[in-house]
Amino acid sequence: MSIQFQNVSKAFVQNGQGAARIIQALNPLSMEIRDGEFFSIIGPSGCGKSTLLNLLAGLETSDSGNVTVDNVPVEGPSPNRAVVFQEAGLMPWMTVSRNVEYGLKLQGLSRDERVHRAEKYLKMVHLSKYANAMPHQLSGGMKQRVSIARALALEPKVLLMDEPFSALDAQTRDVLHDEVQRIWQETNTTIVFVTHNIREAVYLSDRVMIMTAPPGSIKRIVPVPFAHPRAKSSSDLSYFTAQLHNQIKEEVDKVAARELDADWKQDAEGLAVAAEGTDYASGI
């Protein structure tokens, strides 16, 4: 099972004042994601990382090239490619269990099978107790757990995660990192993970893809040379993170130079000089 992007590009039409502008989100790009891999995509905002994920999810179609999973072209969404979004997006009128079951119902599974699978995956995210609760009774982190269970219940070949933890507080995020790492090892699912959090990407991934400032293209694909499971406090990991950080900063600066006033750079550099001598890695 491998995922291939071949010369995939994507542009959007933006309707602003006057004439519509065409925004090139992705320059033609090719890459491969391996079977069972934990693959992260990071880059500055607007670099097209979410677009890349949406193309793979089948929520958007590419302008050129093609995306294939096991040599089968992606044509629209499929339960083989489940998605976890930044927002949990649980349906507030259904119980937690019904939310997890809904996708299975659409696939025509029997009621018993559905309930059984919902139980299994709610257990995997440690929320069995809340099967009959309503979503509004859960915290943000619990909602995101349900959203992960809902995706896993489809028993997909690929799990796509689009900044799944960026709306959560730091403690909850840390706990969920470990959960995702464990689930990935238990299920052997390929995970494609979009984030702007470098530490998160390094901690979880086999390989991290760094994207350039828009229009997005591949800057580098970096293997993370540490065995799973990893320890968050590891200094190797921190050092590695800091190195990646410098590479991404180049791209972030390019975006800032386009968007901000001319004096931003001096102010930012002033701060960097003031911070020199402190441990850069630990500050991330």
Binding site: A57, L59, P77, S78, P79, R81, A82, V83, F85, E87, G89, M91, P92, W93, Y102, G103, L106, Q107, M134, P135, H136, Q137, R150, L154
Partner: protein, 256 residues
């Protein structure tokens, strides 16, 4: 003291003050008693029309018209609203037309209805339908447009599309806002019906109680008619729509 209890107490107290004021003005005899009757006289008149059956027949007839007229507006309004939310072309054409028509009080259509449809029940129904249809259509369109885009994405990746998506997700996601629109539609329909009944001497109905009172120069009966209109309107608003709205909002977690 319990907050709810406090609110009820204040409301009941205010009601009593109003009644006392009314009685005081009536007793002061600024006008002859038959021109400005007190609450006692109005209550007596109310009991009279209840006893001779006028009250119940009127309510039954008016509510019958409301049920038929409102049901038609509901089906038509929701259908038009869904189309306007789904189709850009439909929204810019029919949608704009409906926005414009919404500014015309539906009672203004009564003279047309009388000529085009005929001097009978159906002309009144047409006014009721027009009273609610446009506002329900506009509310439906807005409720659908305000659905958070995440449901669209979640629905698609889970495999819900077309009719299944509309039935399972779109409808429920729009429901909390939609129910508010349906309530406003009901209020518009009720007002339109009252206006139409006032103008149409051939039909019995709640608003006719006022007109009948006027023709006998019985102001107590006219006031009784006003109270009936208020009571029926408020009952449907609070009991039917209020309960429905509260239940939905509670289940959705929009209020405790």
């Amino acid at each position: 003291m319990n907050q709810t209890f406090k609110i009820i107490l204040v409301k009941v107290g205010f009601g009593c003050v109003l009644l006392a004021l009314w009685q005081a003005v009536a007793s002061a005899r600024f006008m002859p008693a038959h021109l400005f009757p007190g609450p006692g006289d109005v209550l007596k008149s109310l009991m009279d029309i209840a006893r001779d059956g006028t009250l119940w027949t009127s309510i039954r007839l008016s509510m019958g018209r409301m049920l038929v007229g409102y049901s038609i507006s509901l089906l038509g309004g929701v259908a038009v609203g869904v189309l306007a939310a789904r189709s850009w072309l439909f929204k810019e054409t029919v949608g704009s037309l409906i926005m414009a028509l919404q500014s015309i009080p539906s009672i203004c259509w009564l003279p047309f209805a009388l000529i085009w449809i005929g001097i009978d029940q159906r002309a009144v129904l047409a006014v009721v339908i027009l009273g609610a249809l446009f506002s329900i259509a506009i509310a439906t369109e807005s409720a659908i447009r305000n659905i958070p885009p995440i449901y669209q994405k979640v629905g698609r990746v889970l495999g819900a599309r077309g009719f299944v998506f509309s039935r399972d997700i779109l409808f429920f996601a729009a429901l909390p806002e939609l129910i508010g629109g349906l309530k406003i539609g009901w209020t518009f329909a009720w007002r339109s019906l009252m206006a139409a009944e006032l103008l149409r001497a051939d039909q019995m109905g709640v608003a006719r109680i006022i007109e009948t009172g006027r023709s006998y120069n019985e102001i107590a009966m006219m006031m009784a008619g006003m109270i009936v209109i208020l009571a029926v309107g408020l009952t449907v608003d609070l009991v039917v729509f209020g309960t429905l709205e509260r239940r939905i909002r509670r289940r959705w977690g929009l209020e405790k």
